[in-house]
Amino acid sequence: MVTMNPLTPDPKSPRLVLRPVLSVCVSLILGALVGIILHQLVYRFSLPAQPFVYAAF
């Protein structure tokens, strides 16, 4: 009788099958979030640096 080490995951378990797919998805989502932040930074840093307050009255 073969006994499995409880610390070694079963290669057929769904957790291991999904891991590569999940890893790709997480990387994609994180990359997309960083892209959105980059786009916002491009906007933020393309605004002129000097603040402008005009006293009309």
Partner: protein
Amino acid sequence: MPRNPLLEIFCGWMRPGPFFAGLIFSLLLCSLAGRWASSLDLYGDRIRFMRKISPEGYVFPTPDHVMRFVEGKAPRDRILVLVGGSSKMLGTGQKNDLLWTRFLQKDLGPDYSVVNLGVRGGQPTAFLLPMAEILEKKYPRMIVVTDETSPDWLTPNYSYFLWQCRMDGLLSRNPSRERELLHSLKNGPQFPWLYGQELLLGSLFERMTASKNLWNYLGYQYFFPVYSPLAEDVYPKDPQFAARKSVYDDEYDYDIDKKVPERFLSNLDLHLKTARETLVRLIKDPGGKRVLRDEDTSVTRFNDLIPEERDRSRYLLLNVSISPYVLSKLSPVEREDYGDALEAMNQSLAKKGFQAVRLGMDYPYEAYNDAIHLSDDGAPLMARDVAEKIRDITRNKGWSR
């Protein structure tokens, strides 16, 4: 080197390929969304660019959005009256319902569409002149109304707009403008408010990513994406990140309840000095007639900004007088000279082919909120005088009966 277990888990999950694919995909998607946002009449529910949707409120309207703003308000079959320039044209101190351009629209009637592109602390070059140049072909029947100043192409706070129009290829070739743009690139440190190189790079990035178009849209509709250290002190009434759509028009929200003459007393000496400086612009010609100096800066500047080959007769320049209360503090001779100086300016501008009109000197004291800005009471008076002149121009051009 000690190992960080959290970092190890993170690295175990991350794949560089998908990460960069996601990054590039979302950047492209944001740019496409920006292109889509550029086609919207974002500020269509507004009648003017009050400070919360202007550079003073960290909002930098793009040429696309300003163009949509005009197109949304002016059907092509009407005569477009494009108003712009400084806070006098914007109607600072006037309530939204009593804005002078509303009265102008009412006076001119349904054959005309009046659009206000005035900006605070601005000049005609801020939004107005680039937009007039761009819209000339779309609106062959267009009158451009602005206040008489001594404008430069590159004005503090609004130069970004000109750079963007230039980099988007929207403007025709104008050698004097090209020279000024190049000059600002080479002499940045001498003109710290211009930041020519910063603006050139900003407009290049904008062209590639349409970031202002997208984030202006999100900032107007949903949440404002820029933290402004000024917001709490200068604009205490609205939450820092509130969507600008929900922010009310505060152009009239000043301490303007002061009665006459208290409202004119702050900086009275300064305004008297300004009025007297106007008199220096006059000289006597050989016939003894008082005329404007040949080298008068405002006339030469308009002469440079709008080349002769353009139709200058569609440009109406308003010589808005300083407040009659301030004028009453001048001597009778000075007062008369002041009127002559404004008239002489009109004549000099007319010689160059522009239309010009003097107004404000005979208005009551209540028509002004302070030394230079017209009040709710002055708005219909100014509209009446300008409408009369516009009707003259359109009749002469054969656009109306």
